[in-house]
Symmetry: C2
């Protein structure tokens, strides 16, 4: 079922040929001991007779999903989100423990919804808790990048697995820099969000519905397949994906929308290389949701961060979150920002790595390494290393330079604990002060302790 050996072998044939005539210095992946105090739980879970079939079932269910873009509509309609209800990224958290960027996004969201006039006034509102509530995106079938704040008036993409009818949701991407999802809430942020609600959302709804009804909905899983052949890893680089979405929606935008608004929308989408991220994420969630709730399965079905806690959910343990402190990313900073300005890891976007792309597909996106501060050898080594902790290679999402081997997919809690290798995540970095916005991008891993926690629960259930 898993194919890392094939990954390495195929890569070697290919790459060995390419070093012709060179003296080759070889770096070996060291054997590592299991994570501390996991031996007993590893033995218990390894002996669970359900495990093998459960993991096979989880992987097969995940790989069978194809995500199609079937609609765009406001969160109030789609998720039943009501005035004062706010969704956020990561595992559950309250205002008291919310980090700066999540607070900033909530403050901006409160102003967007008209709960306050000045975002600064929202601090008292959230401190009091009167008429406001916070809930993870994941609990409503949604995912949100960075702070991941969703309010009732925000428009969302609707992705559907046509075979099962299962759906997931994600807000529309605002672009980079001073944007709500990075915790900025200035007038330009709110103005852009209002335009997205008044103009972009309705236009996209019309175009997405027209495409759906005329030629069939946009195949997001298929675009992801193409992206991975075009230098995108679909987390920090979504350039080709965004262009393909633009290609698929442009004729309908032109045919049905107001002419000048359509041109404005085309410019906005075309000017934001990350626009497709908000389709890649729910496509990954849609696949992973199909692998949930299989008793005995040790496959991770969500990794998500609220900027304070990093949490995972595992197929065999239901909706339980296993959490630990979110880490600081190691990477490159924008302008004069430095490590002291960065908030710990935040966002639901690690759902991409959970599904085998993003940091797991670094080998296919060498251009991204300059953006997150790595090197091309790092990129190839990362994809190879992730093969050590995953259950399968995804045949639909292949890496050309590794001779079209599938990306390593389906993180196995037991393999993580046994090898000590942590999932590699590409991420943007938000400023830790509310209101600052993006300060950089880099590489990060989950806190190691959450995997033994999940393993302990799996072991308890196996006994």
């Amino acid at each position: 079922m898993r194919a890392p050996d094939r990954v390495v072998a195929v890569g070697a044939d290919l790459l060995a040929e390419a070093v012709a005539g060179q003296a080759v210095e070889v770096e070996r992946v060291d054997w590592r001991p299991p994570m501390a105090a996991t031996e007993a739980d590893l033995a218990t879970v390894a002996a669970d007779p359900r495990r093998h079939d459960a993991n096979r079932q989880a992987v097969e269910a995940m790989l069978a999903v194809t995500a199609h873009l079937v609609d765009v509509a406001p969160a109030s309609e789609l998720l039943g989100l009501e005035r004062g209800q706010f969704l956020h990224a990561g595992p559950p958290i309250g205002w008291d423990r919310a980090p700066g960027p999540l607070r900033g996004a909530l403050m901006g969201g409160a102003a967007l919804e008209g709960l306050v006039d000045d975002p600064e006034d929202a601090v008292r509102l959230f401190e009091s808790g009167d008429g406001v509530s916070l809930e993870p995106c994941h609990h409503r079938g949604a995912v949100g990048p960075m702070a991941g704040v969703v309010t009732p008036s925000m428009w969302m993409f609707v992705l559907e697995d046509l075979a099962s009818g299962r759906r997931t949701y994600c807000s529309l991407n605002e672009g980079l820099g001073k944007v709500l999802r990075y915790g900025a809430y200035g007038p330009e942020v709110l103005e852009r969000l209002r335009w997205m609600g008044d103009v972009l959302g309705p236009l996209l709804q019309t175009a997405v519905r027209a495409v759906r009804d005329d030629t069939g909905p946009v195949d997001v899983t298929g675009i992801l397949t193409q992206m991975l052949q075009m230098g995108d890893e679909a987390h920090n680089r979504n350039r080709a994906g965004t262009l393909m979405l633009l290609r698929d929606l442009a004729p309908a935008l032109v045919s049905h929308g107001d002419r000048s608004q359509a041109a404005e929308a085309l410019r906005f989408i075309g000017g934001n290389d990350h626009f497709f991220l908000n389709l890649a994420m729910p496509a990954c969630k849609l696949a992973l949701d199909a692998g949930r709730d299989i008793p005995g399965s040790t496959m991770v079905v969500a990794m998500a961060r609220n900027g304070t806690d990093f949490g995972i959910q595992v197929s065999g343990t239901g909706d339980e979150w296993f959490t630990g402190p979110a880490q600081l990313a190691d990477g490159l900073f924008l302008g004069d920002f430095g490590p002291d300005d960065a908030n710990p890891d935040i966002g639901d976007s690690a759902i991409t790595e959970t599904a085998g792309i993003g940091g797991f597909a670094m080998a296919t996106a060498p251009a991204i390494v300059r953006f997150v501060g790595g090197t091309v050898p790092d990129a190839l080594a990362t994809t190879r290393r992730m093969g050590e902790i995953t259950l399968a290679a995804n045949p639909r999402w292949s890496v050309p330079v590794l001779d079209f081997t599938g990306v390593p997919t389906g993180i196995d809690v037991t393999r993580v604990c046994r090898t000590g290798i942590l999932p590699q995540i590409n991420t943007g970095m938000a400023g830790k002060q509310a209101g600052v916005g993006q300060v950089g991008a880099g590489l990060v891993t989950p806190p190691a302790e959450i995997f033994p926690k999940a393993l302990a629960r799996l072991a308890a259930l196996a006994r």
Copy 2:
């Protein structure tokens, strides 16, 4: 000046790391003897005191060019092409020696221009030569893919090097399959060409002029830089380039064009992954034209094929063509077609390889190998091998997986003769019967003898 050693070394660091833990089988590039009977000419040219500076000057001039899309207009206006005048790909040729696909394209072109009602009647017209004439695209500053037939009513892209004002031209791409450039001339081919003349050309003119005047012309050289980071080698794969062009023109198309025509144009461009090829080609010609006519330079400035002859032009030898028989490509065939159906190599598109992309940039486009029948190791080896016969690495066009090394650029006649390594070209294959259209795609090289011919002329001029 040339960087192949660096290409190989950098590739090795990168790739060696990626084969960690593997036993590495290494294939060496064998030393090869010079091409037969070239020793004396090689010695003469090597001793030419002008050669070193001339080649440096040719390379620098080529690399300094940036191509911008400044206009779209009919060939009659741009090139002064008159009724009965036909441009074609490759070195000069008459109807008598023209191969099937060129004849088919000329027959269709004659019908398009109203010289005949039925394309079949054009055979007599061209046999008689009355009121018709053939001339290479290259002689009018243009390039044409495959048959490369240009008639007065066809609309063309205009590329300009803003620093020098130098311009090149190329027709609009028709798509794949049954198209004029592959020698098809049926009713659907002519209908599409009429739509391109009546609707697409004028729409593109409006959009290109609006973009040019509003935000500055589209930077085609810059798009090529991006494409090479997105899996395109810009000869047989132009998917990302086409999408970026669409992105850059879509808002203007929407703002200025008729709404339903604009939607139709967006669909046509978005549905044709090769649309950008007709911008990549004149961008390469624009760069190479800057390296022409430098006495003593041994750099190839054009490779072009008319389907019967393969010809090259060299900087130090002016407009002279050195020709030999066009070869059959080795590759994959569409549907039931096989090698017996294919015409020898045809088209001006080898201008991309002349400038260092296409087959020379195979390493950056592993996905293309499945289209032309190669393997990923072939792709990496090809780019490395082309470093043996070129004068420079192009710092603007880099290959991420080779740690951002520039593509091998500026074919040196002396290096080709000294090593026997021939330029590697990716190409489409036209059916050898007029009217058939595309039958496949594959890999091909020039006939070896044209390089000693060019070398002999360089030697004669050096004496």
